[in-house]
Point group: D2
Chain length 350, copies 4
């Protein structure tokens, strides 16, 4: 099978990670790196002299050698770049979040489908070993029915100047939940606050409801004294904790729960609490980004649908839109406005 | 100064703790223990033979020796017992939550005020050394302006058969927040689920907003693989973590934050992240319940207003009512109903 | 079966714990409490009015009702009290360490044996659920052959004014190791220092060797910034950690080790590292002291040999004697003496 | 000031780290990489095409451009390579441990001194920010007099096939202690065991005594269920913990200790326990290896004596020799031999 020739668009914060992984990937050949900033291109070339660089996207898209495009540009440009690439007949890998609106996502999905092109979104955590392990545990039925999930993704910084913490951090958890549960959120409500930059919430709490009755609480923040990457799943049989900051015991299964004796049998219902052993399975140590890259190349080569396809990207953007609408509504409250006014005044006085 | 004579009403789960502390308290004399269950009274007498027991509340309230009543009966009876006691001219200490509705709280406050009687609510955490220490740190300005607070109060069990986890656990955090912030919540929204007993949510997430712009997120649950008693305060200058499960480092102050440089001066705003030292001050080891009991006796003896007076109890009940209304509204959604139906069916099939 | 009548000798720091457990024990009746300090006896009687008190040991030993004696007096008196009791025909439970010398232990064992009396030593940890669980794991072969064991038993205080930290804390670990391994130490060497009270080491490190090749390192200290109660067992197949300060995961089994490929087969030997899952079994929550008390009464009633009999007590004292000899030899070094001189001088100057 | 031209001898496990740092160092120019294995040289050249490679040490030492040699060859060759380089008039940086015997160290020191050449040993931890911070805390007197120190440096693997765990891991702690205390050990005793490879101890406990009375206990092991890098310092005023596995709170100062009231004043001595706050200062995040490299170049350029000079390397080797002698003596015990015999037999049977 011939190599898939790819071009990387955007060599900012994340682009170098993509480039490094695609360079090591058998089956892929990186021909172009494209960025509007010449000094970024120099960095890429210095590291990988075999690559050709350009500031002109059209040159890349006009190259018949190029099979696929990797988009790592600012979020606001994902839609435009991806549409141009799809129209040029290129397969597209686009970083998360896929776009700024559900409408954009729909157009992107349609454009890819009409041309029979692969469209994949960079929900990297779906390709990480602990997240995959948890998926297999859920699917095995070991936890029973999932009742609720809590996710904390907080640390100090780095503030984005463009998008809120919701658009920056919540896509991780929303895509993980979609992968685990196979369900689309029914509703998403959010409370947040813009503590540092006016109009850009840096802490938010998302309440997510699913049709199955499962609820999920997401805490995302750029302001936290400690770094947390912790997810708790409470099932009807067992409970699970996934802590990505742990170097060894990333996933723990707690054999504990509450057993309910039906009132029809016992007159009054009875509860018994069960606390058994705790097991932490070994988690493999492969780089999620490499697995993701290999999956994209494989889907392009074989015409299969990616695990994190356009529909998956759309689901995440839909949840983000709902959360944003909820934050905006909250920010219109007089109290919230008052908080803002006070902060501005203080900033001037200091 | 003569001793204050008290009577304990209710000798169930919590009553013995009150009794033990009041027995050791100089300035207080426990004359009566009253409970509708004779077997409970026997237990009390076996332990403290000097006390008189009765199943008849009227006998206690008719005793002119009795100055004050301690109410540790089920929540649903707080209002009725307290009103009867106040009408009989007795000072009242009532466990939290103070009553089931704001209306009941208002009547209790009025009844006490009209008769010049002390009315105090058992928000015990307000009398605990780490909570007091955090209060003094906030008041000192060391944290700067409080931006937001997150509270996790979760563990496995014990399910109440009467009230939801919100009424059982959230009063602790709501009374702590009221004490720290000196503010009444503007709004409280909640998402929860009844995982084990139909109609009694055992996990809930509360979004609380204050007029100052501060937001707080409370997580309360009877279903958790690990016990958490953790509160994080993010201030404009420093951050603080209060973890009540820690035996030594209960309170930690993090000298870290984000410094914001105004765009009016710098063209574009700039952020700098500051991560300094972490300090864990020593926390005294006195029993909160003993401090609370001494405070009640002192207020009765001197006619001073308790720190956790009727107004403080009312504030907590108001927040609980709002949370409950929000939970009820959520439970009316078709999705939530579907979840319930499914659970019932499964329970029958198993 | 008639009750066993016991008398408690010594009501200081530890006596109350023994008394409480024996009072709750079916099959035992506590008739006497004996202590040379009348004010201690008053405390005992106030709590348990049914008991008779005396300051005269001879009165207790002369009472034909008394079947067994519980000795909780200072270590230096264990031998004398126990011998008197055995000569009076009483069964004996004595706190650890059993005596001050191996010679004393031998006499005690002989006296008990000659009269067919039960002699048991209060190595309480042998009766604690996690220690028993670890014993069953070792015996099951799950760990393979035990290679070495490390034990840390350190915290701040409380300094004894009579005996060193070795005699105070090391009996716990030495008795646990004897129980787990079923082996007598071949040699014990120690290094320590008297940091606070001259001549009473408050930190010590014990190197223990067994005939099987197993080695053990014990760290005992009254001077430590954190409390540690941690034991690590490295076996040829798996490893285990027992941390008694953990409330939940007290025992953890690590499925990890090194697999050795023999050079005779492979030319040069090869090692492969195996890191599998980690399992923390549930540990029961029974009070060790109660299990110990029940075991003593059972042994007395049925004439069976206690798990922690005189031989077990002797083994521990022999190890302590060896450690002490090693410490004394070290303290005779000029350097060690110099350290002491310096400290004394500084103490005077300050 | 002209650049210092260096040559790296040995491009195995550690050499690449040295090379990377010296390549980034202003003031240094790496001209040669020398290794007996051509395939290793290819790796170096591929990464840094500007460097010249050779398998012949004499070619490097004969190059008059070369000012200094970096030795990262196997321990057994340190002495020979260093002596050859010094005789050729080159400054020498040699990895730790400096050599296999004190005699070799003495010769190396003499050779460097006679020629006025810099001789520095790669005790890298002495250049790490937390170790430096602890040094400054000790020197400030905040801890009071150091009483004792415990060091745990354990993890699973990697077994060396040449030297024991003592020669592999203990140099870190011995050099750190030398830096902190400014003292040479009076005596070093060790207990260890060869669990996996016959004759190569993979776990050892070192008892170190200093003339000042300070004692130190070092635990080093390639067999441990958890990775520990923990050092505790108990001082007469405060205590300190340095945990290198912590990402944030690497150093903690505990304001706790025991205050001793002199018996000459109080009749009997009295102890009072003090437990104050705990402070974790911020630790900088610079790479120790880079600081070390810059220090070597600076010493060469200015003729100043390195912090970790030959004398410091000799001190560590002397302690290792003493530990090894102690291990060898222990291994000659019949019990230890028996352990070995048994293991060999088992290996054959399996």
């Amino acid at each position: 099978m011939p190599n898939t020739t790819v071009a990387l668009i955007g060599y900012g914060y994340w682009g170098p990670n993509l480039l490094r992984n695609y360079m090591e990937l058998a089956g892929a050949e990186v021909k172009w790196v494209c960025d509007s900033r010449p000094e970024r291109l120099e960095k890429a070339i210095a590291r990988y002299p075999s690559i050709v660089s350009t500031t002109d996207l059209k040159v890349v898209l006009g190259d018949p050698d190029v099979d696929a495009i990797l988009i790592a540009t600012p979020i606001g440009t994902h839609y435009a770049v991806a549409m141009e690439a799809l129209h040029a007949g290129k397969h597209v890998f686009v970083e998360k979040p896929m776009a700024m609106t559900v409408g954009e996502c729909d157009e992107m999905c349609r454009a890819a489908e009409e041309r029979g092109l692969t469209l994949m979104v960079g929900h990297t955590f779906v390709y990480s070993p602990p997240v995959r392990l948890v998926k297999s545990i859920i699917d095995s039925g070991e936890l029973g029915d999932v009742r609720f999930i809590t996710c904390s993704r907080v640390n100090l910084g780095l503030h984005s100047k463009e998008v809120s913490v919701v658009w920056d951090l919540a896509p991780h958890d929303l895509s993980i939940l979609a992968y685990w549960l196979g369900e689309t959120p029914l509703s998403v409500q959010a409370m947040g606050r813009s503590c540092i930059i006016d109009g850009i919430p840096d802490v938010a709490f998302l309440n997510v409801r699913y049709a199955s009755g499962i609820i999920a609480e997401l805490e995302v923040s750029w302001l936290s004294p400690v770094k947390l990457r912790r997810t708790v799943i409470v099932g009807s049989k067992k409970m699970l904790m996934y802590d990505d900051t742990e170097s060894v015991e990333k996933v723990k299964i707690f054999d504990q729960g509450v057993d309910y004796k039906d009132p029809e049998t016992f007159g009054e219902f009875q509860l018994s609490y069960r606390t058994g052993g705790i097991y932490s399975p070994r988690v493999e140590n492969t780089e999620p980004l490499f697995v993701e890259a290999a999956h994209f190349i494989d889907c392009v080569a074989n015409g299969t649908t990616p695990l994190t396809d356009g529909a998956s990207g759309r689901l995440v953007v839909a949840a983000l839109e709902a959360a944003q609408a909820s934050l905006d509504a909250g920010a219109k409250n007089p109290d919230e406005r008052r908080g803002r006014v006070e902060r501005r005044r203080r900033a001037r006085e200091e």
